[in-house]
Structures are given as structure tokens and as C-alpha cells.
């Protein structure tokens, strides 16, 4: 061996799993592709343009801000791309281009870079942008184009369509029973044949992507299960109490952004609790707030608000869900006697 050649010396361990931040992030992007494709199928080219503009916008904004704040530009890690695609999937397909760009600036700027960049933000950047846009431009954010499948004929000739959750909310305002509404069928909703934001319409496509992430270990089951579980159970309980006023649990499951939120946004590693126990509490909180807003709030949909609110609780949850350290339990009873 050549003495001139310096050996690398580091602390153990000397081997590493193949996981890396870019790998995690780009996998998440890839797993959102099915949902994106479904939205393109139903909403056509505008959907694709929205996704593309949002992703490019977020990446460019991140690069510019990194330069401004004199930080290394790390857009290749894919985090900005994830934010971009998630933001797009939270917008209606006909969102005006300027609104998308404002969203990108808010998401990356206010949501992430001011906190110091990746890993340091408190709130999910895409959701910060979505809620910001929802409050600032309520009209543009809530006029949904009617779904028109590429193949086959459209169910209506209408240009715009209300989301199922929007219909339910309106009915509640007017005092009409839910039964009298012309809601899309459950299978249609599961496939994605309904009005709504790009990414939230197809429950099946979202589940497919999330199952792969679960298999890879990039998300854990805790948050989705407790989030979705609590929404469905709570929703069903109120449905039993008053079926005219409150929709069923299965409706809650597929209508609106529950799956997108629970599978892809509440599971955002940076802004969710670090332990399984914490994630269960986090998901439960998200679920309860979602149901409360959906049933009694001013907005038809509460997933974004719920996740954002629970993001604020994460530091407190983390503080009180520290795992049990090894070596801090006495031996079990039988053992103690034996010893």
C-alpha cells in the first residue's frame, strides 16, 4: 500500500444503508405520480400544466432563496419537488398561473426557507401555501372544473362542479337532508370521478403510492391509521346519530382530501412526531379536528387546517412521548422471584 495515499478515518459505523434524502424525496414524488395521472385523466392538460408549473416554481424559488440567504443550493435533494407536487395536488386544475406561483413562494419561502431550510420547518410547506391561497383567493380556490374523462363521455356538460363535501356543507346550510343530494357514487369517488383538487380525487391511486412508501419504510402506519381511523369512526358515529345531517364514515373516507392528507402530508417526516406513539396522537388530533371542521366549521374541508394545527402541536407531543429507554424497567415479576 502506498504510504503517500491517505486512508480515510472516521468514527464507526463504516457501512451505510442505501437510503438517502434524495432517494426518500424522489420516491415520494414517484409515488404521487399515479394520483397525478388520474387527475390528468379526469381534468386533462390543465392538470398536467399545474403540476409542472408548481414543481418548477418551487424548485426555482428554493434555488433563488438559497442564493439570497447564502446557503448551499440543494434542490437536487428533491424536497422542493415534493413540496411542488403536493401543492399542485392541493389546487383545482384550473388554478391561474399567478396563483400557483404565489403558492410556490409562500410554500418554499414562508413555509421552509425562513426557518433555515429542509428539516427545520414547523409547518408542512405545501399546506401553508394551500391554506394561504384558500384564505386569500377563496373564489379561485373553490371553483372546481367538472371532471371529464379522456375516454368515455362526461356525466354532465357543466363546466364547474362542487366537491361532494361542498355539496354536503351547502345542504347543511340550507337545512336539506343529505339523502336528497345528487352525490357521486362511492366507487366513482374512490376512482376519482368527482370534483375536487387535483390529487385528492382518486383514493385508489393515492393508496397504491402510499402502500409502496409503507413497504419502503419511508412512512409508518401510525399516522395514516389513526388519522383515517378517527375520521371514519367519528364520522360514522355522527352518521348514526343523525343520517340526514351527517354523511357516513365511508363517505368521509373517499370524499375530499383525507387520503391525500393522511397518507402524504401528515406523514411528512419533518413536521410530524418522531415516535410511533407520538404519531398516533398526532393522527388522532388531525382526525378529530378534520371531522369537527367538516361537520360544523365554516369550511367544507378541514384536512389541511387539521394537519397544520397539529404541526404546531408536534414539539409538545414529541416532548411527552419519549420512548422507554432500555434498562429502565425492573425485571418482570416471575423473573424477579426466580432471580
Amino acid at each position: 500500500m502506498n504510504e503517500r495515499l491517505k486512508l480515510i478515518v472516521s468514527s464507526s459505523p463504516h457501512v451505510h444503508s442505501p437510503d438517502s434524502i434524495p432517494r426518500v424525496m424522489w420516491t415520494v414524488v414517484a409515488m404521487l405520480v399515479p394520483a397525478t395521472l388520474v387527475s390528468v385523466y379526469f381534468f386533462g392538460l390543465p392538470a398536467l400544466l399545474t403540476v409542472a408549473l408548481s414543481m418548477i416554481g418551487c424548485v426555482v424559488v428554493e434555488a433563488l432563496l438559497a442564493k439570497l440567504f447564502k446557503k448551499p443550493i440543494v434542490i437536487r435533494d428533491g424536497a422542493a419537488a415534493v413540496t411542488g407536487i403536493l401543492l399542485a395536488l392541493n389546487l383545482p386544475a384550473n388554478a391561474p398561473w399567478w396563483m400557483i406561483l404565489i403558492g410556490c413562494v409562500v410554500a418554499i419561502g414562508l413555509g421552509k426557507m425562513v426557518y433555515g431550510g429542509l428539516g427545520q420547518n414547523i409547518f408542512n410547506p405545501a399546506l401553508v401555501a394551500r391554506v394561504f391561497l384558500l384564505i386569500s383567493f377563496p373564489v379561485q380556490m373553490t371553483s372546481w372544473p367538472a371532471p371529464k374523462p379522456l375516454l368515455g363521455s362526461a356525466a354532465t356538460d357543466a363546466v364547474t362542479a362542487a366537491t361532494p363535501l361542498g355539496m354536503v356543507k351547502e345542504a347543511a346550510m340550507l337545512g336539506k337532508p343529505i339523502g336528497s343530494l345528487d352525490l357521486p357514487g362511492w366507487t366513482d369517488m374512490a376512482v376519482g370521478y368527482m370534483g375536487g383538487s387535483l390529487g385528492e380525487i382518486s383514493a385508489i391511486a393515492l393508496l397504491l403510492g402510499a402502500l409502496f412508501l409503507l413497504y419502503k419504510g419511508y412512512i409508518t402506519w401510525h399516522t395514516p391509521v389513526s388519522f383515517i381511523g378517527s375520521v371514519v369512526v367519528l364520522g360514522q358515529v355522527f352518521h348514526w346519530i343523525n343520517p340526514d345531517l351527517y354523511p357516513s364514515g365511508s363517505f368521509h373516507l373517499v370524499a375530499g382530501g383525507l387520503l391525500l392528507g393522511a397518507l402524504f402530508m401528515a406523514t411528512d417526516m419533518v413536521t410530524s412526531p418522531i415516535t410511533g406513539k407520538g404519531q398516533l396522537i398526532f393522527g388522532l388530533g388531525c382526525g378529530v379536528i378534520t371531522v369537527v371542521i367538516r361537520l360544523w366549521g365554516g369550511y367544507p374541508e378541514g384536512v389541511s387546517f387539521a394537519i397544520l394545527l397539529m404541526n404546531a402541536f408536534v414539539p409538545i407531543i414529541d416532548r411527552y412521548t419519549v420512548p422507554k429507554k432500555f434498562g429502565f424497567t425492573p425485571p418482570e415479576k416471575g423473573e424477579e422471584e426466580a432471580a
Binding site: 478515518v9 429542509l118 427545520q120 419504510g217 419533518v270
Partner: protein, 438 residues
């Protein structure tokens, strides 16, 4: 008496490249470098000087305190000098430099005779005299471990044949080639502690060793083979005891706190040799492996042999060497020179090329929790690293930084490539220094 699987842990690729390569002895080198510190505790005190002639197996340094160990000459020849040389621990420490005369002229070994009837004290004395230390890597003097204070009676002894570190196969080969030496050593330890039951823990990725041991225990009454699930760090003392007995060593405690004692299988074989043959510890099996050597091998090596010769025996490096590691990839010590010698705790020598040991800059923590899920001690490595990074050592101590066993599970799985173990080791060192200051 089967325990449970510990929480956490990871599955690094096993890469046991040399699992099927029988152990072969490495020719004795012309010069050996024998450090005075090949064990935890006080360095041994030399009893020979530069210029003295020594025989193979002759005592050249004696233990100099309660926690210390004897050292014997691994060759016959002349002591050239005692001077600081590069030590596997990464600094220069006093070493014997002995020129080999090539005769392997040995001192006469005095076996203890019939050990099953011998007094435990005599057995411990024989082990002490042979300079035996923990050969799994911790190098704790064995005779001290075998003399627990009376308030901590030992009721369970476990032979550690888990070898959960990737790449390493020295214990595996030992169990395959010398099962009786291992088992007899275990029975000697049982005799010392007055026990009639002992376990030998082996990971299920070594089915041949498990089968062979199950067959052999027929000749060794009281020994039971535990086939343990494959998950790193199954071979860590605390996790092994938990797996075998469901007992958790309390924070800051030792195995004896829960009435257990763990010995590496290599140590047991050495104990048997010391008692049955009167032979001191002067050689050991070392796995020389890694993608960067031509032919991964298991070698029987005299202590004090420079690792450069081991790499040559494995066919030399095939690519420019990036990293040379004494021990396994998860907990081993990276070497900055190939001049360091083999010592009593050198279980393996891992040579990695640039492809296996890339230098990757750490990214920001994305709080994915992989380290928390991977930690077998239930700690939060990312939080510890963050606190240490910000010099908040008091908080790090409160979060249990001292409980870390440095197994590397956290850093192995970290997608941001944060050097969690390094931060934590830094925190531990600072906390200990502060404690000393008072």
C-alpha cells in the same frame, strides 16, 4: 428460559465473504510488535527489557493492577526495544518490538490437569496467568469478569457466538472447526461459577454452526444452544442477555447486575487452552475481508503481526484502499496506517475500497425517525446529536447519552448521513470529562 427480541436494530447486508474459507495459519512474521495495552485497564508492566532473549509463550509483561492482564511473547527471539508504536486504538503506545529467530522455541506449558475437580480459584488463576481477555473486541480481562463481587451472584452464563457484525466470520469458523474447545471452555466457566447450565447463542444465519453445536452438546452436559433471530446488534451484551433471559441490564449497570455473564466463543476456546494445555494467549483467528482484498480469508495469526502482512495474505488490495478497519464495519476502528499490530481483541480486518467507503457530506436531519426506530437502547439519537452539537451536554446526559452502546444502528440507517455515533461519542466523552471534574 427464552427471552424476547430486543426493540430496534437494523439489517445491514451480511456480506460474510469468508464464511466458507477454513482457517489457515499465517506464517510467523520476522518481527512482531506487541503493545503493553491489549486490554481495557492499566497497561501491563514489562518484565523483560530490550536485548533480552525470549521464548514463545514466555511472560514478557505482567498485569499491573486489578483490571489488567499478562502478556506473553508470541514468538521466540530477541526483544529489540520497547518504544511507542502505532496502536490499533489510533495513537502511539508503548510496544515490545521482538525480532523472531524463526525457531518457535516455546517455554514448557503446565496444564492444570483434571479441571472438573479443580478449585474455581485455581481455574481463575490459570486464566489470569494465560493473559486471557475478552476476544470479541471489548478486551476486558477475563479473570476479573469471572470474579464478580459476592453481592452479585451469577446464575446464567452465555457463550456469545452471535457474530452479528457484517463481514466477520472468525467466530463462525471457530465454532465449525473447534466446537469442542468452545464447549469445554464454556463448561470450565460454568465450573468456575458453580453453575450446571450454560447457553451458547448463535444467530440463525449460521445454520451449520447451530446444527454442529446441537450435535456436540450431547458430549457437554448442561449446555443449551440458542438459535437467535438475525438482527443487528443481536450480539451486543445487553441485547444478547435480553434475548436469552428477558432481563434488562439497568442503565449504567453490568451483566452481573442481572446475574449474567457473557463470554465470546473465542475467549472460551482460549480459556480451554489455558486450562487444559496450559497455553497462554499468543494467537487468535482474524478474518481478513472486504471488497478491496483479492481473497477474503480466515487466518490464525500470532499477536503482534502487522496488519500489512494480513492484507498481503488475503491477496493484497485489488483497488486503491480507502479504509482499513480493525474489527467489523459497524463498530470497528478505522486505521490510519497498515503498520498497527494484531492484538487480543482484533476479530477482523476489513479493507474497503472507495466504492464501499464513500465520503458523503451530512445533510440536515429530516426527522424521519429511522434512528429512533433503529436504536436498540430506546434512545433518540437525533436529539442527542442535536444537543451535543449545541454544546448542551447536561441535557444530553439527561436524554441518556451515556446509555448508548455505539452499535451504529442509528447512523447506518440515517438518510441524511449524519454521523450520529460520532456526535454521541463526543457527547459521552464530554459528559464523562465533566463528571471527572465534579
Amino acid at each position: 428460559m427464552i427471552g424476547r427480541m430486543f426493540r430496534g436494530g437494523v439489517h445491514p447486508p451480511e456480506k460474510k465473504l469468508s464464511a466458507d474459507v477454513p482457517v489457515k495459519p499465517l506464517p510467523v512474521p520476522e518481527q512482531v510488535i506487541v503493545p503493553l495495552s491489549m486490554h481495557i485497564g492499566a497497561p501491563a508492566k514489562p518484565v523483560v527489557q530490550g536485548g533480552d532473549e525470549v521464548k514463545l509463550g514466555q511472560l514478557i509483561a505482567e498485569s499491573s493492577g486489578f483490571v489488567s492482564a499478562n502478556i506473553h511473547s508470541p514468538v521466540s527471539g530477541v526483544v529489540r526495544t520497547i518504544e511507542p508504536r502505532d496502536h490499533p486504538l489510533g495513537r502511539k503506545l508503548p510496544c515490545f518490538v521482538i525480532d523472531n529467530d524463526g525457531k518457535d522455541d516455546a517455554v514448557e506449558f503446565t496444564p492444570l490437569g483434571d479441571w472438573p475437580t479443580a478449585e474455581p480459584k485455581a481455574l481463575i488463576e490459570a486464566i489470569h496467568a494465560a493473559g486471557i481477555v475478552g476476544m470479541g473486541g471489548a478486551t476486558f480481562p477475563t479473570h476479573v469478569k469471572l470474579s464478580p463481587p459476592p453481592q452479585f451472584p451469577i446464575d446464567t452464563v452465555i457463550a456469545n457466538g452471535v457474530e452479528c457484525e457484517p463481514y466477520l466470520t472468525s467466530d463462525h469458523r471457530l465454532m465449525l472447526e473447534h466446537p469442542d474447545r468452545v464447549l469445554e471452555g464454556l463448561r470450565i466457566v460454568m465450573r468456575v461459577l458453580g453453575l450446571d447450565k450454560g447457553f451458547i447463542g448463535i444467530e440463525q444465519n449460521k445454520p451449520d454452526a447451530i446444527a454442529l453445536m446441537r450435535e456436540k452438546v450431547a458430549d457437554h452436559p448442561g449446555v443449551e444452544v440458542l438459535a437467535l433471530p438475525v438482527r443487528y446488534p443481536q450480539g451486543a451484551e445487553k441485547q444478547l442477555i435480553y434475548a436469552a433471559t428477558k432481563r434488562e441490564i439497568p442503565s449504567g449497570g453490568l451483566p452481573m447486575n442481572v446475574g449474567c455473564l457473557v463470554q465470546n466463543v473465542g475467549t472460551l476456546a482460549a480459556i480451554r487452552d489455558a486450562v487444559v494445555e496450559g497455553k497462554p494467549l499468543v494467537e487468535r483467528i482474524v478474518t481478513v475481508t472486504g471488497e478491496a482484498v483479492a481473497q477474503p480469508v480466515n487466518l490464525l495469526v500470532r499477536l503482534g503481526t502487522p496488519i500489512r502482512l494480513l492484507i498481503e495474505a488475503a491477496g493484497g488490495a485489488t483497488v486503491p484502499t480507502a479504509k482499513v478497519i480493525s474489527g467489523g464495519p459497524m463498530m470497528g476502528l478505522a486505521q490510519y496506517t497498515d503498520q498497527t499490530p494484531v492484538i487480543k481483541g482484533s476479530s477482523g480486518l476489513l479493507v474497503l475500497g472507495p466504492e464501499q467507503a464513500p465520503v458523503i457530506e451530512a445533510g440536515p436531519c429530516i426527522r424521519c425517525g429511522a434512528c429512533v426506530r433503529g436504536c436498540p437502547m430506546g434512545l433518540q439519537p437525533t436529539e442527542l446529536a442535536r444537543l451535543v452539537q449545541n454544546d448542551d451536554f447536561a441535557a444530553a446526559e439527561a436524554w441518556g447519552v451515556l446509555d448508548c452502546i455505539e452499535c451504529g444502528s442509528c447512523a447506518f440507517g440515517c438518510p441524511a448521513h449524519i454521523k450520529l455515533v460520532h456526535w454521541i461519542r463526543f457527547g459521552k466523552a464530554e459528559v464523562m470529562a465533566r463528571r471527572k471534574k465534579g
